[in-house]
Subunit: 175 residues, 2 copies
């Protein structure tokens, strides 16, 4: 498993000054583009989570959809999209979260989760933890229980894990 | 296969006046949420496309990612995201397309496809065909060949298929 994680880590591409100056962006597209690496990532997510007893995988727009949908298929779970405001057509719950400057928000369909259902949350990257925390609250507003939150990458220096202290967090790759 | 398609069709929810008045939106989230229906949709996509000899699946942001990523895992292909402008971190090609009022654009990483590679394009919905045509051009600008374009749903009254006349188009559900 260590060797596989190292392979994934090696494939992630650093893009300097994106989305703005001074930020070193972790570009996961080389992992996605390689059928073997993509399958490896999903296999590792599956190993980490398959015993958590959840029925649904909720994924955060947009890159989270890529991992969430593939994992849902692999583990035979339902898939729930958590999206930017105004994107989901039916009745929604909405949670705001803080950005460096200002706020943003995420939405979930009110009937996306049946009360009592256990839900695995997934996204590509844990940075400050704001979107993941808002997403966990959305699952709970539907009456669901967050089984765990998992990420491909954690940027440990941003300490987002602290914000998610109430949840089980699983990360494949740490930078 | 007919029975499975009918099951999917029955699960799709009509949401009136979304995203604006007078539009009857086809909400696919009930299909995604049901593990069995989601697996059925991916199984049907796989049957329609597995003999086309492609190496990559390129999917259009955001709902296309859900089907594209799951299908890529199932068929052991690489996954390429086609995204809204400013979302992809590395060097991109960009294609504009017409909206009812004004224009929008999509981007692909310049190194997403190796020249000569065959690529399957996928999205959830064929409406006027503008985003799919722009996406096909993006694949071709990378030097790739479009093996086929596939959709979960085609809104036949919008005649988007005409705009895609140069390509093989495969649709699971027609309204």
């Amino acid at each position: 498993m260590k060797k596989q994680i190292e392979q994934l880590k090696q494939a992630i591409r650093d893009v300097p000054d994106f989305p703005k100056e001074g930020i070193l962006f972790k570009d996961i597209t080389p992992v996605l583009q390689d059928a073997q690496l993509f399958a490896t990532a999903i296999e590792l997510f599956a190993k980490q989570t398959e015993n958590l007893g959840f029925e649904l995988i909720a994924a955060i727009e947009s890159r989270g959809f890529i991992f969430g949908a593939a994992l849902a298929l692999k583990l035979n779970k339902g898939f729930v999209p958590i999206r930017k405001p105004g994107k989901l057509p039916y009745k929604t719950f909405k949670e705001e979260y803080q950005l460096e400057y200002g706020t943003d928000a995420l939405e979930i369909h009110q009937d996306a989760v049946t009360p009592g259902q256990k839900v695995l949350l997934i996204d590509d990257l844990l940075a400050t933890g704001g979107t993941a925390l808002a997403s966990a609250k959305l699952v709970e507003r539907c009456g669901g229980k967050v089984a765990a939150i998992c990420f491909l990458i954690e940027l440990t220096f941003l300490n987002g894990i602290q914000k998610l202290g109430n949840y089980q967090v699983k990360t494949l790759i740490k930078f």
